[in-house]
């Protein structure tokens, strides 16, 4: 609906978490600050706080996931929520139940929060439009649209290492066209006033008019990586080769793989990120992935705190509403 923002309560607080687009800098900074306070919880020996006690969170995954689903699950558990995990690809919709019927049936079980991953762009908004008034939807990836919690954990990781965003040069490298992660990252980086975003990809993996998203477009990795502070590598899916988007994994690695030699073109203290799962030897060399500039495993750790932050912010506002 134009004019209204489905993600926010009338008071501007978070109701659903569907896309970075449509949020604002204040909310993103709130999420990062709240996540900061939760990192200490996850480092304690008793890793639980009672913020979601008595609430039920349903993980509704229509697409496979390891990292995102398990960190959402851990986040919910550490907030003391009850959690229901549903792997829908083997469940009801396969038997012909409509998406909305599946959703409404789960709602009838008094679920408070849905964490949803679905293969259709826009599905998170679709679910949010159709849940009951007290129920919230968190987007764990909708098609090629957005993956907002991933972007926030990336922002968190960047802030941990680089403090302020304003002076940073960030490169996003790889299959930007099909990447929901890249879209969310670009929105988030722009919202946080990052100095420069570079989108680096072969033309077949670059969306139309990508420049309008507020990025500098590069087709040459060596040129694009020069003097950047942050390098975010994207996963290359194998089907890109069979659908004539790329000639071969080997050629891709030669032109767009992150090697130690290429990394040397970036700033000496540049950090290397990857949302996972990474293909070693295709988009990233093992030496870089396991090297001192890689913060890839920290991203996973921070994912829990960031998801706790988003869930707790939504829960506290829905309690107020």
């Amino acid at each position: 609906m134009p004019g209204t923002n489905i993600q926010l309560h009338p008071n501007g607080k978070l109701k659903h978490f569907l896309s970075i687009e449509g949020l604002n800098r204040g909310i993103l900074e709130d999420i990062l600050d709240t996540a900061e306070s939760f990192t200490s919880v996850t480092e304690r020996s008793i890793k639980k706080v009672p913020i979601l006690r008595g609430k039920t969170v349903a993980n509704l995954f229509f697409e496979a996931s390891t990292r995102t689903r398990s960190t959402f699950e851990l986040a919910a558990q550490r907030l003391s929520a009850d959690i229901l995990n549903l792997n829908i690809s083997t469940s009801a919709t396969v038997k012909g139940e409509s998406l909305l019927d599946t959703l409404h049936n789960l709602e009838a079980m008094q679920i408070d929060m849905f964490v949803i991953r679905h293969q259709d762009s826009g599905s998170a908004h679709f679910f949010a439009q159709h849940v009951g008034p007290g129920v919230s939807v968190l987007n764990a990836g909708d098609g090629q649209h957005e993956h907002p919690t991933q972007a926030m954990l990336d922002m968190f990781t960047i802030r941990r290492h680089k403090q302020s965003f304003e002076q940073l040069r960030v490169a996003i490298v790889g299959d930007i066209k099909h990447s929901r992660v890249a879209r969310s990252q670009i929105h988030a980086l722009n919202m946080l006033n990052v100095g420069e975003i570079r989108a680096i990809a072969p033309r077949t993996l670059m969306p139309e008019q990508a420049g309008k998203l507020g990025v500098q477009v590069f087709e040459d990795f060596n040129e694009g990586i020069r003097d950047v502070d942050v390098i975010i590598m994207l996963r290359l899916q194998k089907e890109r080769m069979t659908s004539a988007l790329l000639p071969s994994e080997k050629e891709y690695f030669q032109q767009f793989g992150l090697t130690a030699r290429r990394l040397a073109l970036a700033k000496p203290d540049a950090i290397v990120m990857h949302p996972g799962p990474a293909n070693r030897g295709i988009e990233i060399e093992s030496a870089v992935m396991d090297g001192s500039q890689s913060v890839i495993l920290q991203q996973v750790t921070f994912g829990i705190a960031v998801r706790m932050a988003v869930m707790s912010m939504i829960a506290s506002h829905s309690a107020e509403a």
Partner: protein
């Protein structure tokens, strides 16, 4: 039954008439315009003063969903919608289920229409290939005998260019008009919205312009090769307009239409995944819409169709890429035609209304689209002084999937006559 329609402002584009004129109807036909025929004693008089009297609208592309998808709409529901909106002739494309490749299916449609009271003249466009599979030619002679007004393969691809060439040649030999929606299936891929900033932002699978224009270039070449008279339907791209303009300049026997919604809506209107604006071809960019309007003004595009595609609620109640395409447009065709007049797209309302009456009738050679002595008495009395908001809840069509919810309209059909009968 003799009817006098008195005091209306007659707008008849075919005869360039725009003025207050009485019309005399004798049974199915118009007996006279202006002067009463000798001894004409009307059985009923319809007062049209303060209103417009225009030819019934002619729609070259309208899906009634029957046979095959009567959960979405039926011949009964949609001819009712057509008549209530002043559409008196409409053409059904052959992608029904079963496909319109056999006279029995065509007879069924006419039978159902008759059972519903013949509220509208329903014409059929036959399939160019058997089952629309694009491999073997349909029995075109039989389809012609069964009263098909044109032949098309809709959006189903031909197996190869050779089949398309032969289908066009054979149809032309039968004297049949060919209708083509330029469509390259591979370039469409799984796309659901116009490739551009919107698809980049929303991560929607994109439909490039070339999905239409690459096909259109090939189609035009096959027209040049075969000389087959061809009508191009539902164009959506600026470049397509240029190509048709050039083809006409080259003297090729081509004509073209555009869907009414393409003249108003653009990709941006999809906003946050509004499935009612999911259409094939997709809503394109602003420059495309403007070029379509220009093409319509300068005559490159001959006419406007509804491309009516009523959907049931569940078909649209899906995430955007999984929803079914199409808009329910019968209820909005006439008010939008008057909006074009209001927006001064044309020099006169005669020119505007020609695009939905006489022009489509001429291309498909239908006995419709004009108000003159001896013609079928298909006409509509229009109130063009009203103001209301478009609300799908009030649609007569079974499909509520409009892209114009909440729009301000200033014209509506008040009374529709089909072959001299007032359609209630």
């Amino acid at each position: 039954m003799k009817t006098l329609i008195r005091g209306g402002n007659l707008i008849d584009p075919a005869s360039h008439t725009d003025g207050i004129t009485d019309v005399y109807i004798d049974n199915q036909l118009i007996a006279a315009v202006g002067q009463a025929p000798d001894g004409f004693e009307p059985d009923q008089i319809i007062d049209a003063s303060g209103k417009l009297l225009i030819p019934g609208l002619v729609d070259l592309q309208c899906r009634l969903r029957e046979p095959g998808h009567s959960q979405k709409a039926t011949i009964d529901s949609e001819t009712r919608a057509a008549a209530s909106s002043g559409i008196t002739s409409l053409c059904i494309p052959p992608d029904t289920q079963p496909v319109l490749d056999h006279s029995a299916v065509i007879e069924l449609i006419h039978h159902r229409n008759q059972k519903s009271g013949n509220r509208c003249h329903v014409y059929t466009i036959g399939a160019l290939t058997k089952g629309l599979h694009g491999e073997e030619l349909s029995n075109m002679g039989a389809l012609k005998d069964a009263s098909c007004v044109a032949l098309s393969n809709t959006l189903s691809p031909f197996a190869n260019n050779l089949v398309q060439r032969r289908a066009m040649e054979y149809a032309a030999g039968q004297g049949m008009l060919i209708v083509i929606q330029p469509y390259d299936k591979a370039l469409y891929s799984n796309g659901c919205a116009h490739e551009g900033v919107l698809t980049t932002r929303l991560g929607l699978p994109p439909i490039p312009e070339a999905a239409e224009t690459a096909a259109l270039a090939k189609d035009i070449e096959l027209v040049a090769q075969t000389g087959a008279r061809t009508h191009f339907g539902q164009l959506s791209c600026a470049r397509s307009v240029d190509m048709i303009r050039q083809a006409k300049q080259d003297g090729l026997p081509v004509s073209a239409d555009v869907s009414m919604h393409q003249l108003f809506l653009i990709d941006r209107d999809i906003d946050l995944f509004d499935t009612n604006k999911l259409t094939i071809p997709p809503l394109r960019g602003e420059n495309d819409r403007d070029a379509l309007r220009e093409g319509l003004q300068d005559g490159t595009i001959d006419c406007i169709c509804s491309d009516h595609q009523p959907q049931d609620i569940d078909a649209k109640l899906q995430p955007f890429p999984s929803a079914e395409p199409g808009m329910s447009t019968l209820d909005t065709l006439l008010p939008l035609a008057f909006r074009l007049i209001e927006e001064r797209l044309f020099l006169s309302r005669l020119e505007a209304l020609a695009r939905v009456t006489i022009n489509p009738a001429r291309i498909f050679n239908l006995p419709a689209g004009r108000i003159a002595a001896g013609e079928l008495a298909d006409m509509v009395i229009v109130d063009d002084q009203c103001h209301y908001q478009c609300d799908a809840k009030n649609f007569v069509s079974a499909g509520r999937n409009t892209g114009f919810q909440g729009w301000d309209f200033g014209a509506r059909a008040v009374t529709t006559l089909v072959a001299g009968r007032i359609i209630e």
